[in-house]
């Protein structure tokens, strides 16, 4: 069969960008740069300067100190538990909000932002009030030998709460933009719910999901306020990295404090770099419809 059908689409039109006058651009770029130097580069540089003030050996010693190692372990454990759980909750929430219509949907969407709006200290207090040993539920748990507040589960729960919105907020706009067409197509082709999710929905959202998980990790590593309230600051047991930094600092052990802080900076930089790489891929992927 000869085929006249293969007409190709027209190539995309390249538009010339309209730009602001040069002085305006210089001013804006200059201001941004100045702000960055003053508020980001300088303080970050100082962290490292302080950390290495007493030399490389002292730095290593501060980091190898058992309490520091315990704090790193606790922080990483928290991240390892919180991020997968919030990825799951986030996908569930985003799925429910974008693929179904039900009463109270708008309210649910708004409430998702609550953990961002509430001060982390209050977030911590909520769980102390809910699960502390003086509350009925908390004392019942205590009788069962389960300790939540002032121990690792409390830290995990508080971090879960604080970092809950990241994944869902990343996915909702994405899933809304993608619509339900592909899922409906899969449905008419005979796919079951889990097949549709695994073969269609998940591959479509995977970059957004990973991106949300990275943001979630960054926040889980750095969370101070909520964790501070529920942790009890027991060295070697319930101290995360940010809490450990604070303790060292309040003991006037500045160099050690900054050495540990530099670990946090290092973790933060890593997530930012991974995020940038992902963002690049994410945009490339979502632009090819």
């Amino acid at each position: 069969m000869s085929t006249p059908l293969l007409s190709q689409g027209t190539p995309p039109v390249v538009r010339k960008k309209i730009s602001d006058p040069l002085p305006v651009r210089i001013l804006l770029i200059g201001l941004t740069l100045l702000f960055f130097i003053g508020f980001v580069f300088l303080p970050l540089g100082l962290v490292f300067a302080q950390a290495f003030q007493k030399g490389w050996d002292f730095y290593l010693e501060a980091i190898r100190e058992p309490y520091t190692i315990e704090a790193v372990k606790l922080t990483l454990t928290t991240v390892a538990i919180v991020v997968p759980l919030n990825a799951f909750f986030g996908v569930t929430a985003a799925w429910a909000i974008t693929k179904f219509s039900f009463p109270g949907k708008a309210a649910l969407k708004t409430l998702l932002d609550l953990p961002f709006a509430v001060s982390p200290v209050i977030a911590g207090l909520i769980f102390v009030l809910l699960l502390g040993s003086r509350t009925p539920f908390g004392s019942w748990l205590g009788e069962q030998g389960i300790k939540i507040i002032f121990s690792t589960p409390g830290i995990i729960i508080a971090t879960l709460f604080v970092t809950f919105p990241f994944v869902a907020r990343e996915l909702i706009p994405l899933m809304e933009a993608q619509g339900r067409d592909e899922e409906e197509a899969a449905l008419t082709l005979g796919a079951k719910g889990w097949q549709i999710f695994g073969k269609i929905t998940l591959p479509n959202i995977r970059w957004g999901l990973l991106y949300g998980m990275i943001l979630c990790s960054a926040r889980a590593i750095g969370e101070f306020g909520a964790v501070s309230v529920v942790s009890g600051h027991i060295r070697g047991q319930t101290n995360t990295i940010p809490l450990h930094v604070e303790i060292l600092y309040s003991e006037y052990n500045f160099t050690a404090s900054f050495a540990v802080a530099s670990l946090l900076v290092f973790l933060a930089l890593t997530t930012v770099i991974v995020k940038a790489v992902m963002e690049n891929r994410f945009q490339k992927n979502s632009s090819q419809h």
């Binding site: 069969m1 085929t3 006249p4 059908l5 293969l6 007409s7 190709q8 689409g9 067409d181 592909e182 409906e184 197509a185 899969a186 449905l187 008419t188 082709l189 005979g190 796919a191 079951k192 097949q195 073969k199 269609i200 591959p203 479509n204 090819q288 419809h289």
Partner: protein, 357 residues
């Protein structure tokens, strides 16, 4: 019988999308659901596919009552308006999807799936694009892959939602003819939804005209075009001049002009009427031939492909008359803007307005 729809009704909170629709479609027929946007035609298609549920009524596909079956058990092929190809899967995987999700007991072997997918892609002339992703295909190509994907599961019926609306004019026409040819080869009972009368007239075995959730008329393209059942259908199927007038003693007034009333209105009491004349059913000449000819002035001349469109202002008519004449006639008459011409209505259709204005 391919598809039987019995008394389908669907109400949304603020309006009725489908009002007691009943329709029979024979096996192997290609049907167009034609209507303006918002008339309920897409809702009807989605209800047949099970993507939406009707408030009441029955859907029988190939003798099997599928009203309450979930969409994945209905076994219908659905081609979406924007194709809804799986963007993360390549063309092969898209087409194979419906076979690969079958339960193990019904799933064909790998090599059978491969044969079937390749056969289908050959059928839609896309066998060269196995490894391509949807984003690398043009609109028309995506459309054909979507069609192959829908056919892969051997659907009882094929449903197409505005299949050509997202394509540019030339591709649309090519694809239209190609789809007609394909249908003649595979004979699967098909319904397509469209708001484009030309598409419906060219492609369908039968046209069902829908307006405001109700069927206005159904019939072959010829029947529907030549004998529109009512003013809506006449208006919707192609360009038309509408003249408001009155039926009076066997005559219909059109502006300052009058024509014989149709038989069914010959003896009726005086009432208002709408008279329809298609632009290409109007004759134009420079000399008065019969006493009944109408005189007017050409206000505008437009080139419409092979035809020439004239906009003629006639005395006694509140709006100008659109006429279409062959290019040759136009050249022979040497018409110019401002010329006086005589207008003849070759075919006139009068509908009485049942309500008084």
């Amino acid at each position: 019988m391919g598809i039987e729809l019995q008394n389908i009704t669907k109400k949304f909170t603020d309006y009725t999308a489908l009002d007691n629709i009943s329709l029979n479609i024979a096996s192997g027929e290609l049907i167009a659901l034609l209507g303006p946007s918002g008339c309920g035609k897409t809702t009807l298609l989605r209800i047949i596919a099970g993507l939406e549920s009707a408030d009441s009524g029955k859907i029988i596909l190939e003798g099997k009552d599928t009203t309450n079956l979930p969409p994945r058990e209905k076994n219908v092929g659905f081609v979406f308006q924007h194709y809804a190809l799986f963007r993360r899967l390549n063309v092969y995987e898209n087409v194979a999807f419906g076979l690969k999700v079958l339960p193990r007991s019904k799933r064909p072997s790998k090599s059978e799936i491969k044969d079937r997918v390749e056969h289908l892609l050959k059928l839609v002339q896309m066998e060269w694009a196995l490894k391509r992703y949807p984003s690398q295909l043009s609109g028309g190509q995506r459309q054909r892959v979507a069609l192959a994907r829908a056919l892969a599961v051997n659907p009882r019926v094929l449903l197409l939602d505005e299949p050509f609306s997202a394509l540019d004019a030339k591709v649309r026409q090519e694809l239209r003819r190609w789809l007609r040819k394909l249908h003649d080869e595979i004979h699967v009972t098909s319904i397509f939804v469209t708001h484009d009368q030309e598409e419906a007239l060219e492609l369908a075995d039968r046209i069902v005209v829908i307006n405001k959730g109700k069927i206005e008329q159904q019939g072959t393209p010829q029947e529907v075009y030549d004998h529109p059942a009512n003013a809506f259908v006449y208006n919707f199927l192609g360009n038309v001049n509408v003249f408001h007038g009155r039926v009076h003693e066997g005559m219909v007034t059109l502006g300052g002009h009058s024509v014989d009333a149709p038989d069914e209105l010959k003896n009726s009491a005086e009432k208002t009427s709408q008279t329809f004349v298609r632009p290409h059913e109007i004759g134009i000449s420079k000399i008065r031939s019969e006493g009944n000819d109408l005189e007017g002035t050409i206000r505008e001349i437009r080139l419409l492909g092979g035809q020439i469109g004239l906009n003629i202002e006639c005395e006694g008519f509140d709006q100008p008359i659109d006429a279409e004449i062959p290019r040759e006639l136009y050249l022979n008459l040497q018409l110019k803007k401002g010329d006086r011409v005589f207008v003849t209505f070759n075919k006139v259709k009068v509908f009485a307005c049942d309500y008084e204005i």
